[in-house]
Symmetry: C2
Subunit: 404 residues, 2 copies
């Protein structure tokens, strides 16, 4: 008799964004006359850039000819894309990363969960609190967290690293030493950035303890300040302790096109085994590559035209972030994030929980955000708005919120 | 200190096709003057059909406009595609499958491995021998097989179901009752098909024992005979014991475009838990959907033009299969498969192992096939050729082999 993976039973409620979608759909059905503005989920709104569209068109045309057709691609991804990444994302920032350390995938979300498979079952996992739920949920599903403790509101075996106003939403080194450390900077959901010095402390800590940092750099394109590192490999010693995940979703609007990558340096060895080789084996056995046409689209992101167009695209979202941030400040809210990140993290009014604030915004002014509690216990009392809406909707949402 | 997943150390050698690629590359470098014909890996050679290209072009154009742009898609896949699948793949064959039981993915290879995650660690896995290596390797990586036993040439805890000339390459019900049973028909690598009556026996067996059949139907488009079922859901009772995986790779040439799906019926419940709901949770948490443009391409596969064009495309590969099959028979080989499947399974000459035959074909006539031993112990003495080459290459390969 088949048994099921009992760890799924330890998951808390639905995946956050499914729950939000459910509440919004229910409200929309009850009030079809209301125009809802969505600043909740981190989905982009601007169309793909012309350079990306051109690359897709060329690649689609190739696929329709006997000479140009491409079937299964190279297991790690096409070299043209990996080489562009090495040069543009790493070489230009002085990071030592080579093409055979890059694994093209269909997105960072898949990679941040799947990467756990190459590690032993008993590794202790650390996450920020609040945190992108996927790190926690995939750890639960893999049986690495133990049970959810209703009294403490946390998983018994998970190390939570509080991100608070006091520490500027950059966690302190944890008391219990974790084996796997999820870090995401610029941060989702708080919008906080980490300085190079602070990140260097984490790298040194991981190297001292033999831990591995799983560094989610999906929002690096939004970094505005000079002193903020775009990659963990800007820190010295990161090649012996860090795996970095990147996405094309937020820098190039690929949320519906699906492309990302993971970097596993060759120096990353544990128990005498190369983690790069383990991931190569996992990637080659359980995955079959991103579509050729999408990899060509990814290549276009690094072209001269692509870079210029996407700079423009990101500046629209950065301006949204400014509008949200300053609008909220004007309206008397306490606000974080939104400078080096597309997320604004606001404090809910005193006495209002984050889900209450969610319902208020939805029901009174028809604006959808994300309740901080959905990101963890330390997210309670906060609320996330994203800068990925259209400029018109973003401005209108802020006007509505100011009337609240 | 991080520990690694020790199960990876139990994997045997490289993934089969990586090893083949290595040998072919080495030969090619040493003999650059030779033209190598590849009938090894199951990759298609015909370009995407015009209806598919049109759909891609339309979808790419949409993605370049503010109105047509699509970001994150629905978690299970777009309804337009799931509804087309329900109607064309299942409804027309009298199979009761609904759109909310279909999960669109980036290919069957990913799904056949990932599906294991929703099951308990201790489930006993059964595979055919010979077998598509991914079922075995993903079971090893998940720690479900125990160690590889050099004396027996098999994994201690894996149930092997021999597929031999004697049983027509359709396995007998196993002695030890497995929990998870991988079946693939039409079969890779043997090219064998299963009759509806024989498949019904498996369904009844699984229902009697509470086992779950993981049915890989990636090659159903090649079925030529009336009595061969295209889906396991043609058997009565399959909805309480079977998960079916399908691919667009072989019926529509999507090997480089990446699209597939998995069906998990709502009646599939174990330990009081719906497997459909578990898979929905896994899919929503660890995956972010196939690209919108690729899902539109998939929809076009079911259009009137698409169906006509793809019937033509498949008939080219079917004709290749006939050429290989009859050519080999003429040359005195014993040959199986190639009637309801794109794979031909030939017996290697007496006294020649399958890797020896691989090297002979490569070195003497520059034809690449796949050694049966790479698919399992019972694959020794056999060799797989695929019908996915171009007609010209296929004919020339057979002329060369006849001169061997």
């Amino acid at each position: 008799m088949v048994t099921i993976n009992e760890n799924y039973g330890k998951l808390r409620g639905n995946y956050l964004f499914s729950e939000i979608a459910r509440r919004v759909a229910a409200y929309g059905q009850a009030h079809p006359e209301q125009r809802i503005i969505r600043l909740g989920i981190g989905d982009v709104t601007q169309p793909l850039a012309p350079a990306v569209i051109d690359a897709l068109n060329r690649a689609v045309a190739e696929m329709g000819t006997a000479e140009g057709f491409r079937g299964y691609g190279p297991e790690q991804g096409y070299e043209f894309l990996r080489e562009a990444i090495v040069k543009e994302d790493y070489g230009k920032r002085g990071c030592d990363v080579s093409a055979d350390e890059i694994f093209i995938s269909d997105g960072a979300k898949c990679d941040v969960g799947n990467i756990q498979e190459i590690f032993g079952q008993d590794n202790l996992v650390a996450v920020c609190d609040p945190v992108y739920p996927v790190y926690v949920d995939t750890s639960v599903m893999a049986g690495r967290t133990g049970d959810f403790n209703l009294r403490t509101g946390s998983y018994d075996k998970l190390v939570y690293m509080p991100c608070t106003e006091e520490n500027g939403f950059v966690p302190a080194l944890p008391d219990r030493t974790p084996d796997l450390i999820y870090l995401c900077f610029p941060n989702n959901p708080t919008g906080a950035a980490i300085t190079k010095d602070a990140l260097q402390e984490w790298v040194d800590y991981a190297n001292r303890n033999g831990s591995v940092i799983l560094y989610d750099a999906a929002y690096e394109a939004y970094i505005a300040r000079e002193e903020i590192p775009h990659s963990i490999y800007e820190c010295s010693g990161a090649r012996t302790c860090a795996i970095e995940m990147r996405s094309f979703s937020k820098n190039a609007g690929f949320t519906g096109l699906r492309l990302g990558f993971t970097v596993v340096p060759k120096e990353l060895v544990r128990g005498g085994v190369s983690l790069r080789d383990l991931w190569a084996r996992r990637h080659g056995t359980k995955y079959n590559g991103a579509p050729y046409i999408v990899q060509r689209a990814g290549e276009a992101v690094y072209s001269k035209e692509g870079k210029a167009q996407l700079k423009e695209q990101i500046s629209v979202y950065q301006e949204n972030a400014r509008v949200i941030r300053e609008g909220l400040l004007d309206a008397g809210y306490t606000v974080y994030g939104g400078i080096d990140a597309p997320y604004i993290w606001l404090k809910t009014p005193a006495g209002t929980t984050s889900w209450q604030f969610f319902d208020q915004l939805l029901e009174r002014v028809q604006v959808v955000g994300t309740p901080g509690e959905g990101f963890g216990a330390h997210g309670e009392g906060y609320f996330r708005l994203t800068a990925f809406g259209t400029p018109e909707n973003t401005k209108e949402a802020l006007e509505r919120i100011r009337k609240l």
